[in-house]
């Protein structure tokens, strides 16, 4: 009896898991198959006839190709600025024991969702305009940084808290200056946290549409999230063959970044030191 029940429960579980898996896998499968299909379709099917013409068409669109580079600049730039400033800020906030720290961070996180949200677009545009940052990479990177920083600090502080102070104290007694100590001891030990925050920031910017759409003017600076609309018809419907090919190209850098970081450093979403 128990054996049968066991087998039955295994079958049921496997079936359920397959269903859930299919739900998530089918769109991915479409994304990997559709770009090679000569006929634009929403069905998941083996490309027939198989073709690379879609990619030829995409690469012929200089605006769209350039946009991928722009996306890299914006996402990469934001990633660097957010990770570095958030690390230093989280470290300082943790070690200096700022009163009401938690209230402060939660407040900032709340406000930050406004900063990158639709509601604040007009003031952000006016501010960027006043600072002469409209239609510049710097303006977009700064707007994103402002929005992502509180959450990044919040995530990183947990990693800093997990760092025993004796490491820093020992470095100081050894003769290391405060900067040296942070660079040699604190930063390497915070690397898993910095990786998490860095990738998270990269992905946030990579997929964002609204902020660059509002803050950037010239087509030469537009990121891929906006450029993908150049593969829509005049009537506003996507040309499936081209959008899917572009979307695949658009997805590759994030995938590569994730694989690289995971292979090199491993991913952890919590603090603490692996001794």
């Amino acid at each position: 009896m128990t054996v049968i029940r066991h087998v039955l429960s295994r079958i049921l579980f496997a079936g359920f898991a397959a269903l859930v898996g299919a739900f998530f896998a089918l769109p991915m499968l479409w994304l990997t198959l559709a770009p090679f299909n000569a006929r634009g379709t929403l069905a998941v099917e083996i490309p027939r006839p198989f073709t690379l013409a879609n990619f030829q068409a995409v690469f012929a669109n200089a605006f769209a190709v350039r946009a991928l580079g722009n996306s890299l600049i914006l996402a990469g730039g934001t990633m660097l600025v957010v990770t570095l400033t958030a690390t230093l800020a989280a470290y300082a906030l943790s070690r200096a024991e700022v009163p009401y720290y938690d209230l402060l961070t939660y407040g900032l996180i709340l406000f930050s969702s406004v900063v990158t949200g639709t509601a604040a677009m007009v003031p952000i545009f006016l501010l960027a305009n006043a600072l002469g940052l409209v239609d510049t990479y710097v303006g977009v990177i700064m707007a994103f940084t402002g929005g992502l920083l509180p959450t990044a600090i919040f995530i990183l502080r947990d990693f800093v808290e997990g760092l025993p102070r004796s490491y820093e104290e020992s470095a100081m007694v050894c003769g290391a200056s405060p900067w040296r100590m942070v660079w040699d001891v604190v930063m390497p030990l915070l690397r898993p946290g910095m990786m998490v925050v860095g990738i998270w920031a990269f992905v946030q910017v990579w997929g964002a549409f609204l902020i660059p759409f509002v803050l950037l003017r010239s087509p030469a600076r537009m990121p891929a999230a906006i450029a993908i609309y150049s593969f829509y018809t005049e009537a506003g419907t996507p040309i499936l063959t081209l959008t899917s090919a572009y979307a695949l190209l658009y997805a590759l850098p994030v995938l590569a970044l994730y694989l690289f970081v995971n292979a090199r450093y491993g991913f952890r979403f919590f603090g603490g030191i692996k001794r």
């Binding site: 025993p164 004796s166 490491y167 104290e169 020992s170 470095a171 100081m172 007694v173 050894c174 003769g175 290391a176 200056s177 040296r180 040699d184 001891v185 390497p188 030990l189 690397r191 030191i273 692996k274 001794r275």
Partner: protein, 361 residues
């Protein structure tokens, strides 16, 4: 190598006074142990010397230099932390060489000197490993090597043996003592383990509640503890204390249960030190107590409370009224539980403390 002096050093955290007006002079080349229960301020005192804390009041000197206002980087001391604080992302070689790296030594020089201390500490074959791949004892050696490599003015140890198991601890203890003696570097060693302090130190400073109660050689402190706190903190098992009232006219000490102990031998000295009828604490080390055949002027009637055979000796705890005495006996046939026995109090070796706890005689 240098002398370390603390002059009236006080450290307060808010309203809590962790270190209270400590004045201390540690000789050049001395092995000095700061001993006390947890929270007594010994680690804070060490951190004040290292520069990791700034004193609220008082001055600290290393050598002839007033280092009170100097950051840890400028004090030229080395510290071994309780958790060793070996950087997990560096190899043992990089860990040991780190103090030299921040001092901008050339790489070949760093390698040469790291190898040299690693030889001394017998960890030369572990230099390519990471701290996580070392055993507790090896980690401890690596931490000591990192302290040794830059020839600091002084070593500061914060309970470096407390993370080792009992067997390794004894081994590491004699190793540390040997090392310190052969290098002659001034060492301040913080511990809560009185046996460790006794075994290692040239002199011990006993601390409690932020104050330095007594400074002296291990034997001085063992033989003549300045007060009942030190008396009961040093020694394992600690000193026995009996409370009683002096009847100098009758040359007797009347214990709380009414038993009288003749103090005739020392009555002259007791007269000098105490008033008639004063309450006192009588202190006797367990090894000075002995069993007696029958009643006598310095014998106490007691009942056996516990018998702990340790091999070389047997610890026998007896109960006298409310109080317990521990005897350290090396007899073949120790008394049995609940037996009624006579304990001889050797008054010539006994210490007399005032009711407040201060040693008087």
């Amino acid at each position: 190598m240098a002398r370390i002096r603390l002059e009236g050093v006080t450290k307060a955290f808010g309203t809590v006074v962790a270190v209270d007006a400590v004045t201390l002079d540690i000789e050049d080349g001395e092995f000095f142990a700061l001993l006390g229960p947890s929270g007594c301020g010994k680690t804070t005192t060490l951190r004040l010397i290292a520069g990791l804390e700034r004193p609220t009041r008082g001055r600290i000197f290393i050598g002839e230099r007033d280092v009170t206002e100097l950051p840890p980087q400028a004090r030229d001391v080395a510290m071994v932390f309780q958790d060793y604080a070996l950087y997990p992302h560096m190899t043992v070689l990089e860990n040991i060489g780190y103090p030299l790296k921040v001092r901008r030594y050339a790489k070949p020089e760093i390698h040469r000197r790291v190898r040299e201390v690693a030889e001394v500490l017998q960890i030369a074959d572990l230099l390519d490993r990471r701290p996580g791949q070392l055993s507790g004892g090896q980690q401890q050696r690596a931490a000591v090597a990192r302290a040794l490599v830059y020839h600091p003015q002084a070593f500061l140890f914060d309970e470096p043996l407390s993370n080792l198991d009992a067997k390794l601890r004894l081994e590491a203890r004699s190793f540390l003592k040997h090392l310190q003696k052969s290098l002659g570097i001034t060492t301040v060693y913080v511990t809560h383990d009185q046996a460790e302090a006794m075994a290692l130190a040239d002199r011990i400073g006993v601390m409690d509640q932020g104050r330095l109660l007594q400074v002296g050689t291990p034997l001085e402190i063992y033989r003549r503890p300045r007060n009942t706190f030190v008396a009961t903190f040093i020694g394992s098992p600690p000193m026995n204390l009996l409370s009683g009232r002096l009847h100098l006219a009758e040359s007797a000490l009347i214990l709380t249960d009414g038993q009288a102990l003749s103090v005739a031998d020392r009555v002259e000295a007791l007269r000098q030190a105490f008033r008639e009828g004063e309450r006192v604490w009588l202190g006797v080390r367990p090894e000075h107590l002995a069993l007696a055949e029958g009643p006598g002027p310095t014998h106490l009637s007691a009942r056996v409370y516990a018998v702990e055979p340790l091999g070389v000796e047997t610890l026998v705890t007896v109960q006298v009224d409310e109080e317990r005495l521990t005897l350290r006996l090396s007899v073949d046939e120790p008394p049995v539980l609940r037996e009624q026995v006579w304990v001889r109090i050797p008054l010539e070796r006994a210490l007399f403390f005032r009711e407040s706890g201060e040693l008087a005689l």
